[in-house]
Symmetry: C2
Subunit: 153 residues, 2 copies
C-alpha cells in the first residue's frame, strides 16, 4: 500500500504541475489547497527537493516549484523517494537490491522469479507514467464524465 507520504507528495506535485510556471508556490498554499498537514508536507517537499524533483526559493516571494518539466517526473521516482523500492522483495529490487536472508539459492528461487515479474510489471507502469500523463488522464476522465452526463439528459 502507498503511504500517505507518497500520496501527499503526488497530490502536491500534481498541483504544481497544473500551474503553468506561475513561479514559486508556498507550502502553506499547497497544504491548504490539498488538505495536507502543513508541517508534514514541509518534510515531504524537502525530501523531494533533496532528490532533485523539486526546487525551492527562500524568503519573500519564495516557495517550491518543479525541478523538471512534468513529463520528466515519473510516479515511480516519486514513490521510490518517499516509500522506498517498488519491488515486493529486496532480492528483486533494481534500485535497492539486497539478498533475502536465509534464501538458499537466489538463482533457482521460484518465488523470486514470480516476484521479479511483479516488480517488472509495476515499474514498467510507474516509471512510464509522468505527472503530465496523470494530468492528461484526469482531463480525459473528466471529459468522459461530461459526455455521460450529456447523454443522460
Amino acid at each position: 500500500m502507498l503511504s500517505k507520504k507518497s500520496k501527499y507528495a503526488l497530490r502536491a506535485l500534481l498541483a504544481l504541475a497544473r500551474r503553468p510556471s506561475e513561479g514559486p508556490v508556498l507550502i502553506s498554499e499547497l497544504a491548504e489547497q490539498e488538505g495536507i498537514p502543513k508541517k508534514f508536507l514541509e518534510l515531504i517537499l524537502l525530501e523531494l527537493k533533496n532528490n532533485g524533483i523539486l526546487q525551492s526559493k527562500k524568503g519573500k516571494g519564495g516557495g517550491y516549484f518543479l525541478g523538471r518539466k512534468p513529463d520528466a517526473i515519473s510516479l515511480g521516482e516519486v514513490i521510490r523517494v518517499l516509500d522506498g523500492p517498488l519491488a515486493p522483495l529486496p532480492c528483486v529490487s533494481q534500485t535497492a537490491y539486497h539478498a533475502c536472508e536465509e534464501c538458499g539459492d537466489e538463482a533457482t528461487c521460484g518465488i523470486r522469479a514470480v516476484m521479479k515479474d511483479v516488480r517488472d510489471a509495476t515499474s514498467t507502469i510507474l516509471d512510464r507514467e509522468s505527472l503530465a500523463d496523470v494530468l492528461r488522464r484526469t482531463e480525459r476522465l473528466q471529459q468522459e464524465k461530461k459526455k455521460v452526463l450529456v447523454y443522460a439528459i
Copy 2:
C-alpha cells in the same frame, strides 16, 4: 514489500506441495525444515487453514496438509490472506475496496487510474501463478543452472 508472514507462508506451502500427498506434516517439521520460528508458523498455518488453503488433523499422526491441489492455490490468494489486499490504494482494490478519504472525485482521479493499472498487472500475475507453477519454475531454473555448469566444465 511482502511481509515475513507471507514469505514464511509461501515457503511452508511450497514445502507441502513438494511432498506428493504424504499425509499430514507436523508444524515443527515444517518450521525446522524451512527455518521458521515454530510458534510464529503456528499462527500462519492456522490462518491459512481458516481460509480454506490448508486442512489439519489433530492428535497423533496429525499435522497440516494442503486443502486443494497445488495448481489450485495461487500466490495472490495466500498473500491476500496474510498481508491484505494487493492494491496500492484501497480505492482500486477488488477484494477490499473502500474510498480514499479526501479524494474529491474517484471517477476522475488520475492517480487512481494509474494505480488501477498497477493493481491489475500485479493481480494478473499473482492470481495466475499457483504453487505448482512456482515448483515448475524452480525446477526449470535448477536445470538451467545445471546446464550452465556443464558448459563451464
